[in-house]
Amino acid sequence: MSALVAAQAPKARSSSGFRLAMLLPGALVTFLLILFALGLVLFLAFRGNDGSLLGVGLTVDNFVTVATDPLYWTVTLRSLVIAGLVTLATVATAYPVAYYLAFHAGRRRGLLLFLVTLPFWTSYLLRVFAWKIVLAYNGVLNSALIESGIWSEPTLAFLNTPAAVVVTLAHAYAPFAILPIYVALDTIPKSLLEAASDLGARPFTAFRRVVLPNSMPGVLAAALVVFVPTVGDYVTPAMVGGPASTMIGTLIQSQFGKANDWPFGAALSVCVMLVILVVVLVARNADRRFGSRT
């Protein structure tokens, strides 16, 4: 131990130069960009609106409006529900694929991973537009249902609904969900599974009591990666969601655009970020109590 300390002492000077060089890029980005940007939003949230860039005066009116107007609660709740449904749909449909990749794919694993991530290389906007074509009145889905005789008339119930938002985003976030779950499943030591079967566990029990809990960190990571961007998304609801899917991101964006009330938009943003933080902390806590064993 003392030899180690003695060996490190003479390097003190080069070490501190190293430390400085290593800390510098991160410090620049976090303090100058991230903290400054967040501070700016926080500052703007307490300003009054007179159409200028940074507002005037100091006021809590913006927050009062957010808290007292039921519309913002409704829309935030709606955003959380839709984002929750998207997360559930994406993670639930992705899990079996990740499971297959980790335990059954064998040599074809690389190929499958490749196939799963490839659609992600087209532009996000085009993928959303492609879903418009699929779900449209005269689109692929309606045509197929009519051809097969299930329905006699095309239905309007596909496009411009919250369901369309859920399906489109579950499709767009698929690789983001599959990869973390796959990585978590892959790191489960096979010895655990062998031990389970040696002790007499049937395959489903082994899954439920060994595999599932140990993959929770991956599931949580996947859920976060899907949930958070979805809550604030306004592009997808605008393209396939219709008026019933107006989410909080749309309202925030409009404050900086058409409504021209930047301070209020900043206040809404602060509230949304707090809500997301609370949800994430709750999920983390639940995971620690009921989920992971790691």
């Binding site: 659609p119 290389w121 532009s123 492609a130 074509i133 604030g232």
Partner: protein, 273 residues
């Protein structure tokens, strides 16, 4: 090793069918894009109206389009480099720096994941206006570094954490300085993670739209260009053609990378180092 050979083979088959169905779900909308890029009609609807290459011809020599593509590539490269560099340094110092400052930086660096894109866009818009920069490509690069940073930090952190501490301690014991340890031991061991972090950051930047929407000046990126064209009915098939070209190119690139990787693995198996 399988838990129970018979059981999992049966499971494997059902699961395999599910995966197949899932792949169809993944590819069905995406394949519509090449389909309608050859369709002789402005409308992307069935029935198909005949085969044509005219939309691809309009792609040729379209300076706005090639400009947007080049912009996207340059911005993604620079932003991914910046984000990866920061990701490496931040996560390394978080694990081995033994200082509260490094831990704080690491925590803050992962904050942007909680921030919706519209907020990133607006706050950076105000910031760049205050420092006199204005909407421009540099602004977009900064925005994308911010957006991609949590990903690179998380990737590099998990990789560095997986390297046994003894490796680093051995290097230090043998008299290597911190810099040499980092440069010649830790970094090479994490090269796959560095590449993967870079690729992820590149993809995030290349496809990102909301932040660009606020920060773009006179030079749009590809998503912004596509968006501006989508609002214009006549341009829809041309945009489909563009999407097909992007899809085909990435298929070729990713496919080649896969084949090379297999070859590389095969070579290592034949000649264990």
């Amino acid at each position: 090793m399988r838990v129970d050979r018979a059981g999992t083979n049966r499971d494997g088959r059902w699961l395999g069918l599910y995966v197949l169905a899932y792949l169809v779900f993944l590819y069905l909308p995406v394949l519509l894009i090449p389909l309608f890029s050859f369709n002789d009609s402005i409308q992307a609807a069935f029935p198909l109206q005949g085969f044509t290459l005219q939309w691809y011809e309009t792609l040729y020599g379209n300076p706005a389009l090639s400009g947007a593509l080049v912009n996207s590539l340059v911005i993604a490269t620079v932003a991914a480099s910046g984000a990866t560099l920061c990701g490496i340094t931040v996560s390394y110092m978080d694990l081995y720096g033994r200082s509260p400052l490094a831990a704080t930086i690491s925590a803050i660096a992962r904050l942007p994941i909680l921030i919706p894109g519209v907020i990133v866009g607006i706050s950076l818009l105000i910031l760049i206006n205050l420092i006199g920069l204005g909407p421009s490509r540099i602004a977009i690069v900064l925005g994308h570094i911010l957006v991609a940073l949590p990903t690179t930090v998380v990737v590099m952190r998990s990789r560095f954490a997986a390297i046994p501490r003894t490796v680093r301690e051995a290097a230090l014991d043998l008299g290597a300085s911190d810099w040499t340890t980092f440069r010649r031991v830790m970094l090479p061991l994490s090269l796959p993670a560095v590449l993967s972090a870079f690729m992820l950051a590149f993809l995030i930047s290349f496809d990102e739209f909301i932040v660009v929407f606020f920060l773009a000046g006179t030079e749009p990126t590809l998503p912004l260009y596509i968006w501006s064209q989508l609002r214009f009915p006549r341009s829809l098939p041309t945009v489909m053609a563009l999407g097909t070209v992007i899809l085909a190119t990435s298929f070729i690139i990713a496919g080649t990378a896969e084949i090379l990787r297999h070859r590389g693995l095969g070579a290592t198996r034949r000649n264990p180092a």
